[in-house]
């Protein structure tokens, strides 16, 4: 759990504020290695946001004496350590509660799925979701805050700015530039001196049935920034934007998205899918607060877990034959974060 401290007056916040209002200086992020359970209450009454009971509600304390609330469906007792096991499994989905701080959520979920080894020569392609000309609050496109956070995260890992590329393409009539502008993503790119790429204007490399963006193949890591939507497979859908448009449409005519996804997953294993699920769009386009962040190397597994969390019954065709019990999870249990969005 991140905390932020003023080095001058010692005040501590759970909110990532830019500066201390008393001392007018920046806050330092506090790090803790150990977190212990200091109190537990078993909750027996359901609410709309916590419909599965009983669960344990705990107070957690770290070595800096900072305390916070934590819910778990596991058996837990006072004195237990609170820890989350990371696993090296390409199928795993990391689930985390986002608490105001995108960078913390990015770091934790990437750790949960086994981590990424960056070095100063690492090349990264960021593939934001960019599908409509809408303001950020509609949650159709990647939010500017998330894009900014992923850039800050990469810079903190010593990845050079010149090795970071941001790009996508339009499969429809709407020009990608217009979407980038309205969504606020263009502003983030320009602020960081990054020229956004229209992948459709760059090269593609044929790899079996697929024609994959050259930029994606050149990168050591491709970050697929997912904007989830109920009843959709948005991680999978967005991953298709690294394919040549004509190639994708042709394959879609002959096959199904499911088969394209299977080939793409095999053809581009270095893709890491990050879902900003702080807010989520319902099937009707309404916005619901979910407070989550997810990561996985498997876009299809990430889509499946997201739909399971929101208890969506109408799954897209691409997910219909998947078995939730076969998808490994790290971080938070599904039951403790599950929310039936149709009841909100």
């Amino acid at each position: 759990m991140p905390f932020y401290k003023c080095s001058k007056c010692g005040r501590i916040w759970q909110y990532p504020l830019s500066e201390c209002p008393y001392c007018i200086i920046g806050l330092d992020k506090m790090f803790a290695n150990q977190s212990k359970v200091i109190e537990v209450s078993k909750v027996m009454i359901p609410t709309t946001r916590h419909s599965f009971v009983p669960y344990n509600a705990c107070i957690i304390e770290d070595e800096n004496k900072n305390k916070w609330a934590h819910k778990t469906t596991q058996d837990i007792k006072v004195g237990d350590d609170l820890s989350f096991e990371a696993k090296q499994d390409p199928k795993i989905v990391g689930v985390w509660r986002i608490k105001y701080d995108f960078i913390e959520a990015i770091e934790r979920t990437i750790d949960l799925i086994g981590g990424i080894n960056f070095n100063e020569n690492s090349k990264v392609l960021i593939l934001p979701t960019l599908i409509s000309i809408t303001q950020p609050y509609f949650r159709e496109n990647t939010s500017p805050e998330f894009l900014m956070a992923i850039l800050d995260f990469l810079l903190s890992k010593k990845v050079k700015l010149e090795n970071i590329k941001i790009g996508s393409q339009s499969f429809g009539e709407i020009p990608i530039e217009a979407m980038a502008d309205k969504s606020g993503l263009l502003k983030v790119c320009l602020k960081n001196n990054i020229t956004p790429l229209d992948l459709s204007k760059l090269g593609f490399v044929k790899q079996d049935n697929l024609e994959i963006s050259e930029e994606a193949l050149k990168a050591d890591v491709v970050f697929n920034l997912v904007v989830p939507k109920a009843g959709k497979a948005k991680a999978t859908e967005n991953s298709f934007y690294i394919l040549k448009k004509e190639n994708y449409l042709g394959l879609k005519y002959l096959n199904s998205d499911k088969e394209i996804a299977k080939d793409l997953q095999a053809g581009l294993p270095k893709m890491v899918n990050l879902a900003e699920a702080e807010y989520l769009q319902t099937a009707d386009g309404l916005i619901v607060f979910l407070g989550l962040f997810l990561a996985s190397r498997s876009f299809i597994n990430l889509d499946m877990i997201l739909n399971e969390i929101i208890m969506e019954k109408k799954l897209p065709e691409i997910l219909t034959e998947m078995k939730i019990e076969e998808i490994p999870i790290a971080g938070r249990d599904i039951k403790e974060v599950q929310l039936d969005i149709n009841r909100i």
């Binding site: 209450s41 909750v43 009454i45 946001r49 509600a57 705990c58 305390k67 609330a69 819910k71 403790e336």
Partner: protein
């Protein structure tokens, strides 16, 4: 300022809208003050009201203008469960108005309890506490467990508080549990809501309204102390989680202003949203030493026939807790106690001289304390 008139509806689960509760309480207060709405120079109003019933709206001041056919200033303040107390505190600071109506009303119990609970939960922090299942009973259960370990109190102490307040409410015609006393054993064996707190440790969210008319003209009850303090929304980020700093600060302000000490208080209405909150508040308000609150309830001194009855109305626990209304319902009760107008069985004899009200918003996030003196 003086209390000129008080009014309160019966607390219930009737289907009346919030404005009906507001109107009924106001009419009772006006008649008590021997006034009409024409005499009111300003109104301070508190309400949150459920969004689920379709009657919730965010411009209630204009609704009240229409309801009372008045164009005086109307201020709406919200501080959830502490809204009534904050409205009262605000009115006391409006020095240029002669007669001020302080009003609160709520239509809250109007849907399945899990939806009402979720709505109440919106008074807690969203990203780090609501998402982690910190219902208000849960927050208070965790605080109480820490308290028990630190000070050797027991669940039986809380049962005594619930039993006391239910016994008092059984005598109060406006309480939800009027004529419905509950046996101590039933309190102790009620179902667990959030361990260790049981159903009978939790107050009852009901519907209702209350109105107080404050005036610069002298009357039989004077407000002699007023305190208001706030504290962090994140409950576990506070310095001491087993006590409510805002209660301590608001209490100190009120006693300093009144020029009396906790020992002078004859009767009090304390914010017993949970029985544990009542016990901890004995200490925060200075009625017991820190860690000795349990001794006070065990002593019987705060029972109806004791030296200083606490929650003679039945409190939030058994009279009912219509969120913003509670703070003013407490003023209603204390005023009637000081005037000798409460029902005979609930009335202290001789008449009390000093009374106190203590109203909390959220899990100790905003607290008001007011002290009243019988002047005649």
């Amino acid at each position: 300022m003086y209390i000129k008139g008080v009014g309160m509806t019966k607390f219930d689960y009737s289907t009346k809208p919030w404005w009906q509760f507001a109107f009924e309480a106001t009419m009772e207060a006006l008649k008590d003050a021997k006034m009409t709405i024409k005499d009111i120079d300003a109104i301070v109003f508190a309400s949150v009201s459920s969004a689920t019933s379709g009657e919730h709206q965010t411009h209630k001041v204009s609704f009240l203008s229409d309801l009372f056919k008045t164009n005086v200033p109307i201020i709406e303040v919200t501080s959830v469960c502490g809204g009534g107390g904050v409205a009262f505190w605000t009115a006391l600071h409006l020095k240029e108005y002669k007669n001020i109506l302080v009003l609160a009303s709520e239509k809250f119990g109007d849907n399945k309890s899990e939806i009402v609970t979720d709505w109440i939960l919106s008074a807690a922090e969203k990203a780090t506490e609501q998402t982690e299942g910190m219902l208000f009973p849960t927050q208070n259960a965790l605080v109480w467990q820490q308290y028990m370990k630190k000070y050797n109190a027991t669940m039986d102490d809380l049962s005594l508080i619930a039993f006391k307040n239910h016994s008092n409410a059984a005598l109060n015609p406006k309480a939800y549990f009027y004529k419905k006393p509950i046996e101590l054993e039933k309190v102790k064996s009620s179902p667990v809501v959030s361990s260790p707190l049981r159903l009978m440790d939790c107050s009852l969210s009901v519907n209702g309204g209350a109105a107080i008319i404050l005036s610069t003209d002298e009357s039989d009850v004077k407000v002699i102390g007023s305190g208001f303090a706030t504290d962090y929304l994140l409950t576990f980020g506070r310095e001491d989680i087993t006590h409510f700093k805002a209660t301590q600060l608001a209490g100190q302000q009120a006693f300093k202003q009144a020029g009396i000490t906790p020992k002078d208080i004859n009767v009090a209405e304390i914010h017993d949203a949970f029985t544990s909150v009542e016990l901890i508040s004995y200490e925060d308000l200075g009625f017991a030493e820190i860690g000795k609150g349990a001794e006070l309830i065990r002593s019987g001194k705060i029972n109806l026939n004791g030296e200083m009855p606490i929650n003679p109305s039945g409190g939030l626990k058994a009279k009912g807790h219509p969120i913003s209304v509670t703070g003013l319902a407490q003023v209603y009760e204390i005023t009637n106690q000081l005037r000798g107008l409460s029902e005979a069985e609930r009335q202290k004899n001789p008449l009390p001289k000093y009374g106190l009200t203590h109203n909390i918003g959220g899990a100790g996030g905003s607290v008001t304390v007011h002290i009243f003196e019988r002047t005649k």
